[in-house]
């Protein structure tokens, strides 16, 4: 008998309504794109949770390492000039 295969893992992202961001919902197992989409539909939207689905092979996702968080996600508070409040508006000018 062949080795029991549960097929490859695909990550599922769903858009709740048109215009919204795609949000990670979970994963499904499938042998190809078509099956992944079908399984994602059956598993994650039984009650109108979404209007659009992305499926991505899990091993195609590159994730950051939590050890690098300090370096990657430094809030850069010293770079105040990145915020609009840093700038002085001339008297009488209206904000756009």
């Amino acid at each position: 008998m062949a080795i029991d295969s549960q097929l490859a893992i695909w990550e599922v992202f769903m858009q709740a309504k048109p215009g919204a961001n795609y949000i990670h919902a979970g994963s499904v197992h499938a042998s190809d794109k078509k099956m992944a989409l079908q399984n994602a539909r059956d598993t994650y939207t039984r009650r109108g949770e979404g209007t659009s689905i992305w499926v991505v092979p899990s091993d195609a996702i590159v994730a950051s390492n939590p050890d690098d968080n300090d370096m990657l996600f430094d809030p850069a508070n010293d770079k105040v000039y990145r915020h609009p409040t840093f700038y002085v508006m001339p008297e009488g000018a209206k904000a756009i």
Binding site: Q6, A30, D32, D42, T43, R46
Partner: protein, 321 residues
């Protein structure tokens, strides 16, 4: 410092960092460093939870073809489909801990992984479908609501999704019981009989008393578990007794009474001998449940093989081989 001392101090530092995060209430995510015991506890708990959702489809599935109306049949089908979905959400979350689906299923089949004891009882009459939805899903909801705040991110997110779907399960069961209690004398007796058989096993779903519970220490400290077994059981009893009274069902517990001082119901002793007898494999349906799962799993193997063969052929075609 020698090498051993050094790894010890790195370990201790890692644990301190982890526990500070838990203390702050931060969620733990798959790539975060976590103690081995935390990962193991989660895999055991989450896989047991996933298996329960899937095995739980069997007693209810038993009634799909015999549902008393088309409406009842549609509802039951949708409910069971949800349970299959819950199993998949939880397997998906457990897999983020580095355990494969193949491994999870083989642990179920070998008996290393457990599923909820409650599904080793049979669904004998249509009233059992009411009692399962009302009591078993009702008890599951109490547990799952609490787990929405569990510390492992993927588990907590799966719980939020599950809880959104569970309230329909409990209500459809309660509706069946309420309808039968408005029916003929035979129907009322059937409902009470289902109540009598499912009440105690439902209370056992929360696990042993806090004083006897072997896995709680670290699970509470690491916020995997947010409420104790007894706290959750009490919550379930308090909200269910009232629902039983409204439709005229009697709770099969002569010692059950309202405790004014505590603001809770007191209940009679739970038969833990029965609990341990069923959990160790000697319940009415243990063998049937496992045999069914193994058989269906094996019968589906050719579908997975065919799907893989089809993918390989398509890939070759793309490469013009």
């Amino acid at each position: 410092m020698d090498v051993l001392e050094k790894t010890d101090s790195i370990q201790a530092e890692m644990l301190r960092h982890f526990e500070e995060k838990i203390e702050r209430g931060d969620a733990i995510e798959p790539r975060d460093k976590m103690p081995d015991a935390y990962r193991k506890h989660l895999i055991r708990q989450m896989s047991q939870h996933a298996h329960s959702e899937v095995i739980g489809m069997q007693p209810e599935g038993n009634w799909i073809t015999r549902a008393p109306s088309l409406r009842a049949k549609q509802i039951l089908l949708a409910k069971i489909q949800d349970e299959g979905g819950h199993g998949l959400y939880l397997y998906s979350a457990a897999e983020t801990l580095g355990v494969s689906r193949e491994e999870l299923i083989s642990q179920l089949h070998s008996g290393k992984a457990k599923y909820s004891n409650i599904f080793n009882y049979p669904a004998l009459t249509w009233a059992d479908i009411g009692a399962i939805g009302w009591l078993v899903d009702g008890a599951a909801i109490v547990n799952q609501v609490s787990l929405q705040r569990t510390s492992y991110g993927p588990y907590s997110r799966a719980m939020v999704r599950i809880c959104k779907e569970e309230s329909f399960h409990q209500r459809q069961g309660y509706e069946i019981m309420a309808k039968m209690m408005q029916g003929t004398k035979d129907q009322q007796e059937m409902a009470q009989d289902a109540m009598n058989r499912w009440w105690w096993p439902s209370l056992m779903m929360f696990g042993p008393h806090d004083s006897e519970s072997p896995h709680t220490g670290d699970a509470v400290k690491w916020k995997i578990k947010r409420h104790s077994n007894d706290e959750l059981r009490q919550k379930f009893i308090d909200k269910t007794v009232q629902q039983a009274e409204v439709i005229g069902l009697t709770i099969p517990d002569a010692d059950l009474k309202w405790n004014e001082a505590k603001g809770h119901y007191d209940h009679g002793p739970i038969d833990w001998n029965e609990f341990y007898r069923v959990i160790s494999g000697n319940g009415p349906c243990n063998r049937q449940r496992m045999e069914h799962h193994k058989r269906v799993h094996a019968e589906g193997a050719w579908v997975r093989e065919a799907a893989e063969a089809y993918r390989l052929r398509k890939e070759k075609e793309l490469l013009h081989l």
